[in-house]
Subunit: 322 residues, 2 copies
């Protein structure tokens, strides 16, 4: 499965999204423009815009407004990455040095703020108040999730708390993509609900797979060391599943108690998690979300290229290896 | 002149703005709610909400939507204060310890982001797309101004650059207050233009007076040491006017060249500025902006309590001593 196949029906519109994104710093300070272009060039697969465009096609939303929504989603995502990098001090992202590694924290805060402002401007240009309201609410949910993690620590011992966190961090934006696209078109109530379920479930699967890849990744490809989250004391689904099966693991117990592990202890723990059933079990959970997403779409929409592309995208998410 | 007289026509609505602001963290993390309440209690005179409410009354805007706009403006203002404090490291604001002095930078970034999100949510609840678009554009202008100051330094040697900066920082939000309120009502084109001129000019006067008060202030009342901006290498109107009359002042020349002055050198420079004509000249400039604002209103609206209150507010701005 390649992203290329998935995006075929909306390839032209994705080019327009890209052009719209690059134009967003026109007329502003040259360093803001340079930062925006740097961040956009650093890539990402534009999965959120793709989901929005394909979803909107299913309900005959106007293409120009979909393109605007899609650009707003990518801009919002980019803005959160910039502030996240500042917050957790990650110095590499997507294998490219982050702004934070090159810029002062103050410049990074302001760049993130600027990107939020441009995301807000783009979303306002959909001219659809319910979409704009949902955008603002989603931003609140994302930040609330981050604050929660910061103050409560990320040492989740139950799945419910983990699911709540990845909803706030990731699935909420996928939901905004599909529900927002729906609001720009004319879905039946069943179709609107199917889009919501698809966005939610694919977003959850996407974050679970990100968390799985964190245990599989190579620094060069992912831009982060293997087990980056665990090294920072953050429990994600693989380590949580491992913990539920090995509650007596002494290193993990100490980490759960808030203790800081030595480097070789963390690395041994990462290897134990890698060698356990936790990773395939986590992939199974992602797969269950994808199945739910696919079922929702199949139940509400007749076969058509955009529906099949969304189904392929869901499959791609659990199969991708980077 | 007291703020009490000015706000009389909209006092009840200001209470509703206040209640709406306090409710904005309901359902989110308790520390976000605590931070929001702390920031709101720290006060401020709610000048932006007052301007919006009074302006909207002049054009018969619906009161509920005006209250929502007014709350969005104060929330936006509060959000920018939080990130500003982080950026320039000020540890006191309005005489109250800032978040930054109590919280980690990461928590402060996120709290500011949350306040931006709530401002965006509130503005979306005006259900008026042109107001929402203007809000997003204003946010971009504010951030662009901050970035500009950060990268170019704040050592302005001409008034045009200074005016551009205070427009981005302050007058743009006052303009959003009056023009936004206008868009929620039904002004004639002349009235819409008068509201824009009033918002712009009063905003400019407000920031000039802030910059004057920075040279007059007492730490206890302003929450900052006297000459705070100059100590940070930022040239505002008083120091710029002093410079234009005393281009040979050696300490100011060195500061303009980017050199860092010793503490006693800065303090002597601050006293020379205080003893010069710069402060009364700067007040005169603020007064000219206020006159322009008052003239615009008088030309477009018949006498009525809200118009008189806006005129009194403009006077209050150049007369306030804190």
């Amino acid at each position: 499965m390649e992203m290329g196949t998935v995006v075929a029906p909306v390839e032209q519109s994705l080019h327009e999204v890209e052009a719209l994104l690059y134009r967003q710093a026109e007329g502003f300070h040259q360093d803001l423009e340079a930062a925006l272009h740097h961040l956009l060039r650093a890539g990402g697969k534009r999965i959120r815009p793709t989901v929005a465009l394909l979803s909107g096609r299913l309900v005959e939303a106007e293409e120009d407004r979909l393109i605007t929504l899609a650009a707003a989603l990518e801009m919002l995502h980019t803005a959160t990455l910039v502030h996240d990098d500042l917050i957790d001090g990650a110095l590499l992202r997507r294998g490219v040095p982050t702004l934070n590694a090159q810029w002062s924290p103050a410049a990074t805060v302001l760049t993130g703020d600027f990107l939020f402002a441009r995301a807000a401007k783009l979303i306002s240009q959909t001219h659809c108040v319910p979409v704009i309201e949902m955008f603002a609410e989603t931003l609140s949910i994302i930040v609330n999730g981050e604050i929660h993690q910061m103050f409560e620590g990320g040492r989740y011992t139950d799945k419910e708390a983990y699911y709540w966190r990845i909803y706030a961090k990731t699935a909420s934006v996928f939901e905004l993509a599909t529900v927002g696209a729906g609001k720009l078109g004319d879905p039946t109530p069943e179709q609107a609900q199917a889009l919501q379920r698809y966005g939610y479930a694919v977003g959850m699967a996407f974050q679970i797979m990100d968390d799985v890849l964190d245990f599989r990744g190579e620094t060069q490809r992912m831009g982060k060391p293997v087990g980056h989250d665990l090294r920072n004391g953050l429990i994600t689904l693989p380590s949580l599943l491992y913990y539920l099966e090995h509650p007596q693991d002494p290193a993990l117990q100490r980490l759960m108690a808030g203790e800081r592990l030595k480097r070789d202890e963390v690395e041994a723990l990462i290897r134990r998690i890698q060698d356990s059933d936790a990773l395939p079990q986590a992939v199974d959970e992602a797969r269950r979300f994808v199945d739910e997403a696919v079922e929702a779409l199949r139940g509400a929409f007749p076969p058509q290229p955009e529906r099949e592309a969304l189904i392929s995208l869901a499959d791609y998410i659990v199969e991708r290896d980077h």
